[in-house]
């Protein structure tokens, strides 16, 4: 089994889908000869030609609008955003045109909007954001946020095959930092299914994307103290895997929710409500939120480090909760 980075896994997933299905094509800024700002589509134009790897003007509403239009004719567009921070430029297309299409007039919109998100790379306020919650709040969209190379490949393939619009948030911190054995055959990871990234009996931590690795690092440290963390990787933030959330709470009775986006209106609030609805009686302690600060993402490394949740924060909160 070849060892692939998270980025190579995404690349391979899209590549395989384009090989498999002639209706899949890529559209975005600088994705052709240049291969994309992060090189996810490197070499695609040579293999698939400029017809299927389309460089566009810097016009995010046009990219999403055109992808949607093409999907109405039965194509499966994969639209790259150079940075997910720019997704606001296409907000109306995504939330009003695309997301409501099936409900309003029965038009499936099998398109994928994908691109790099997330911080810890000192990208500053406009190259580090996690804007997924705007879209979690919009019925009709699916929101996918992989944490591992294996999942990244399986989830991008499932997203391309899905008949609904999927926003696929790649974490740019993970692009080249994580590697694992990834089968080079055709497999998918189904949307809407969480996974237990590490089993543990004492308390659960529910998270996704880059924060999965923060949680796993903390779990190693805590394990030495005899506290066993269960790490649940959501993989898909919309729709949420309600069952997996409830199950882990029933097993450990204590839960921390960890996310990289800002605190207010974050997914932790929604997950807390689900736990309240599904597993209230299983709780032996307060639900703890660990999140970024309620501020823009700061640029300078010490500031950004302060802004983001770190393994030590998890360790501190887990100790408190374990002792509760």
């Amino acid at each position: 089994m070849p060892t692939l980075t998270y980025l190579e896994a995404i690349r391979q997933g899209i590549w395989e889908e384009m090989e498999r299905d002639p209706t899949v094509f890529c559209i975005g800024e600088d994705i052709g000869i240049y291969g994309g700002a992060f090189k996810v589509t490197d070499g695609f134009i040579d293999r698939f030609g400029p017809e299927r790897v389309i460089d566009t003007p810097i016009a995010e509403s046009a990219i999403v609008g055109a992808a949607f239009g093409a999907s109405l004719t039965g194509m499966r567009p994969v639209a790259e955003f150079q940075f997910m921070d720019f997704i606001g430029c296409a907000f109306n297309q995504i939330t009003n045109m695309v997301a409501k299409a099936h409900y309003r007039w029965g038009a499936p919109a099998p398109l994928v909007i994908r691109g790099p998100s997330g911080g810890n790379v000192h990208g500053g306020p406009f190259h580090s954001q996690n804007p997924e919650m705007y879209f979690v709040h919009t019925p009709g969209l699916k929101v996918v946020c992989p944490a591992t190379a294996y999942d990244a490949k399986g989830l991008i393939k499932a997203s391309i095959r899905d008949n609904n619009p999927v926003i696929f948030f790649e974490h740019k911190y993970l692009y080249r930092r994580i590697k694992e054995d990834v089968p080079d055959d055709d497999y998918i990871v189904p949307l809407g299914k969480a996974r237990v990234a590490r089993s543990g009996r004492d308390l659960s931590i529910i998270t996704y994307a880059a924060m999965v690795h923060v949680a796993l690092e903390a779990a190693e440290m805590l394990s030495k103290e005899g506290i066993e963390l269960e790490v649940v990787d959501l993989r898909t933030v919309s729709p949420l895997d309600r069952e997996a959330i409830a199950e882990t709470v029933r097993r450990t009775n204590k839960v921390i929710i960890l996310h990289e986006h800002v605190r207010t209106g974050g997914i932790a609030g929604e997950i807390s409500a689900i736990i309240n609805e599904e597993a209230f009686d299983s709780l032996d302690g307060p639900i703890v939120r660990l999140t970024a600060l309620d501020s823009p993402v700061p640029f300078s490394p010490p500031q950004e480090e302060f802004f983001l949740p770190k393994p030590n924060d998890v360790v501190r909160e887990a100790r408190k909760l374990a002792a509760y």
Binding site: A37, G49, A62, I63, G69, Q93, N96, K100, N163
Partner: protein, 428 residues
């Protein structure tokens, strides 16, 4: 000797800039061409003036100019003209029926009218082939009729009935059909249909077919950024978009000259590198000819066209709006240019393509159709409350997604052996 790489133009590469300038050798002035089909060029001005304690609009110019004739079409024959005329009548009379339904309290929300614009809606949509696509705006109810929706569909939309195309979920012209009629449902937000229709043309081209796709934008809506994004994208990608800029002089209560400074919105085409055409939007023959030529260009794979249709919104923004801000003389000027009265005169008196008896019969047929549709729509049930739920997502088995024009042909090429430098990436 190494072979010189062959320069190839790709299908998504711009063929040539359509609105090329001409620069006479003796001058540094460039000239561009805008095709203008109109038989009159009204010069009418609108100003904000203070009148005692209030500010109002005042109109000036040649308001007594004679009404121009209908311009003979280069393409339309007798039968086609009569068909278009019938669509226009159906459009107008359907809207009158909607107004009555509103007064009877049967309409949920407001009613939007295309009064004075029926020729533009109907003759433009008439230029499309059945397998081509249209994205209507709120006033293009006539375009929807031409695409094959019935008055009862539109009536049920306005009355929020279970049998409406959106099953009660959306109002007015906000519906579409990807199976048969190839209509993209508009959203309220203006301008967003433009890139979507461009994308439809892109999808078709990837499946091996250049099609014409048509949508509309108002003198007000064209101020949006997405209008620029969408049309520029279509231009650069050489997609067969036919964009009708319906300049009806008002965007809600704001006159067109507070939306843009140039004389004619068709001039915008120059800056996109595409052809720009001006038509009298109250003359269905001009509208059709321009639309037909733009569609043919689209089918040849030569890219988009911007057509500005000049006309007047003959009612308020919607039924609640009495349009008291519009100076009366402006209404009177355009009332004389009523598209239906003039087309009737053209067909009955000028061309004698319809005898008065045939004309009466045609009118009676339209009335009978509308009466039957009105009765059907009024008798149809409201949706159940529970039908609000479900259908937000396309679930397993609810739709099959397959290419509409044929499976794209894929060239087999070798994959590149190695990837380029992994080092020079934006942020690590």
């Amino acid at each position: 000797m190494p072979k010189k790489p062959k320069a190839r133009s790709h299908s998504n590469h711009r063929a040539s800039r359509a609105s090329r300038p001409t620069t006479p050798a003796s001058s540094s002035q460039r000239t561009y061409t805008i095709l203008d089909y109109r038989l009159e060029r009204p010069r009418i001005e609108l100003r904000q003036v203070r009148d005692g304690d209030t500010v109002r609009y005042e109109v000036s110019g040649d308001l007594s100019a004679p009404v121009p004739p209908i311009r003979e079409s280069k393409y339309l024959g007798k039968q086609q003209c009569i068909e278009i005329y019938r669509w226009m009548l159906l459009n107008r009379k359907m809207e009158a029926a909607l107004e009555n339904l509103y007064k009877q309290g049967k309409v949920v929300g407001g009613v939007y009218f295309g009064l004075g614009q029926e020729g533009c809606s109907c003759a433009s949509a008439y230029a499309l082939e059945p397998d081509e696509w249209l994205g209507p705006l709120i006033r293009n109810q006539g375009s929807l009729l031409v695409r094959g929706f019935s008055p009862r569909d539109i009536m049920m939309q306005y009355m929020a009935r279970a049998g409406s195309p959106t099953k009660g979920r959306d109002a007015s012209s906000h519906f579409g059909d990807i199976q048969k009629r190839n209509v993209v449902a508009p959203i309220s937000t203006l301008g967003d249909l433009i890139p979507v229709l461009a994308g439809v043309a892109l999808g078709a081209r990837l499946q091996g077919k250049n099609i014409a796709v048509m949508t509309y934008i108002g003198d007000g809506g064209q101020s949006t950024g997405v209008t620029y994004e969408g049309l520029n994208f279509a231009a650069v990608q050489n997609l067969g978009l036919v964009l009708f800029v319906e300049n009806n002089l008002w965007g809600y209560s704001t006159p067109a000259d507070m939306q843009f400074l140039i004389e004619d919105l068709a001039e915008r085409a120059i800056a996109y590198g595409i052809p720009g055409v001006i038509v009298d939007g109250t003359d269905p023959c001009q509208v059709y000819d321009a639309a037909h030529e733009a569609c043919e260009r689209a089918r040849r794979g030569e890219g988009p066209t911007l057509i500005e249709a000049k006309m007047m919104r003959m009612k308020g923004h919607a039924i609640h709006d009495a349009a008291e801000y519009v100076p009366k003389p402006l209404f009177e000027y355009w009332k004389k240019r009523d598209p239906i009265a003039r087309f009737e005169n053209f067909l009955v008196n000028v061309k004698k393509w319809l005898t008065p008896a045939e004309h009466e019969k045609l009118l009676a047929g339209v009335d009978a159709q509308l009466e039957a549709d009105r009765e059907f729509a009024v008798a149809s049930p409201m949706p159940t409350p529970e039908s609000a739920a479900g259908g937000t997502y396309c679930e397993e088995g609810c739709h099959e997604v397959k290419p509409k024009y044929g499976v794209p042909t894929v060239k087999s090429r070798k994959a590149p052996a190695t990837l380029r430098a992994e080092s020079a990436v934006h942020l690590k």
